[in-house]
Amino acid sequence: MSLERFINQQTSAWMSGTGPDSDVVLSTRIRLARNLENVLFSTILSLEKAKDVVTQVHEAVSDQLALELLKMEDLSPLQKRVLVEKHLISPFLSETSLYGAALISDKEDVSVMVNEEDHLRIQCLASGLQLKETLDKANQIDDVIEEKVQYAFDEKIGYLTACPTNVGTGLRASVMIHLPGLVLTRQMNRIIPAINQLGLVVRGIYGEGSEALGNIFQISNQLTLGKSEEDIINDLDSVVHELMAREQSARDALKQTSPIQLEDRIFRSFGTLSNSRVIETSEAFQCLSDVRLGIDLGYITHISKSILNELMVLTQPGFLQQYAGGPLRAEDRDIRRAALIRERLELDETN
């Protein structure tokens, strides 16, 4: 296994689109924030001490877990960008961290970030809705590391983190969810504030501000203190189930009230993706969302479901440039993106 492998391996396990409830839920992510006792937090740590932290964590995991150590200083900006696009490292680790590193599993479903905002960010990714399983996995890794290091922990307020928004459990559980039905029926504006009131955060994960490219939203817990890890994921899980049910009824309603318009929209988007020679990210994402909806509703049968998950990662700037073997101007990226999408669709059609 090597760095090239992580960069070149195009799809990670969490993108496979095969997990439970993957009609609507694309992926699940669990993150645990941890810090070592008696070491300044990474944000103000000296370089020497930051290196120590990486060594300590690497030693703590190396006996028991097959994780590859990638140091940010050894990576080119483009390589880091690809890892960010694959959700294996955070933009903060890539850009801002002092002596940041990541320990990544072969299947790319585990990434332990070191010297992010906290000394440790244990992150596990899974396809579909798998909050319980993914939390269990993160806890196992946490236990392995904890056998070798002493965490900063307070009996009253739990795991101590650089930012008090993470204190307590240090747990951020997120679900990436595809909600074209709720967007098309204009319900998201009402739903988002209601979810916020439950102590959860909803945001578009691609695109700026409130715009959600490809109708993909991320829902995560905001509160980390006062509830157990199990309660946090159960609360999130029940909201996600509620959203899934509403999305399903929105799709049913669309199919009932305007079937031909829906079918037209889906096949127009399919036509755009199959024939474009130049395509921007926002248009590509919108069309991919429509095509994925078409697959879920049975209009399109010869394309695999993972197309949305895969292409939304593979058509991002870092990946396109990696694929091209060097930097590309924006207009060249749009040409490459169109070519890559056509290639991917043809691959499915010939199979």
Partner: protein, 177 residues
């Protein structure tokens, strides 16, 4: 070590920052650190929590009306961070900061975490069995209260038995409740 900014006062703050990929060691006194604080501690540009935390504290008259307040402000003995610096960056410098700023932090935690100030989740195995048992006991007591309130007396009796067993176990291991 003398502050590299004013060359007068002793440096209380030491950190490393990266400028154009080069690491620079910085030594500042508290006064100069406060003045420079804003750009030194603003970690990630996309991070908007700064404003959130600042906003939470703005109504506090201590901060807006009384400038001398900052000079008397306590700082963390371990990492030298002051509460003002924390508000600017929204990040503490070390675990000890939580103790140092406890009184100011409690209302902030309540606002951030829906009124909660007590951890109910995972405990590191190293913290020992005592703490685990005590947490378990605490949760059972809460559950008992719930059962009694909702008049589910059979379950309540069950839980009471579990509590007694746990209390005994704690006593035998010499723990305090």
């Amino acid at each position: 070590m003398i502050c590299q900014e004013c060359h007068e006062r002793p440096a209380v703050l030491h950190f490393t920052k990266t400028v154009n990929g080069k690491m620079t060691e910085v030594y500042l006194c508290e006064h100069c650190a406060n003045e420079k604080g804003e750009h030194l501690f603003s970690g990630h540009p996309a991070f908007s929590l700064n404003n959130l935390l600042g906003g939470l504290f703005n109504p506090d008259p201590q901060f807006s009306a009384n400038p001398s307040f900052h000079e008397q402000e306590v700082h963390c003995e371990n990492c030298h961070m002051t509460f003002k610096q924390f508000l600017q960056s929204s990040k503490f410098g070390c675990a000890h900061c939580y103790e140092t700023f406890e009184s100011k932090l409690t209302p902030l935690l309540k606002r951030l975490h829906g009124g909660n100030t007590i951890h109910h989740g995972k405990i590191p195995a190293r913290m020992g069995g005592q703490l685990h048992l005590q947490k378990e006991l605490q949760q059972l007591r809460e559950k008992l209260q719930e059962m009694v309130t909702s008049e589910q007396f059979e379950q309540a009796a069950n839980i009471r038995d579990q509590i007694r067993a746990l209390e005994k176990k704690l006593l035998n291991e010499g723990g305090v409740q």
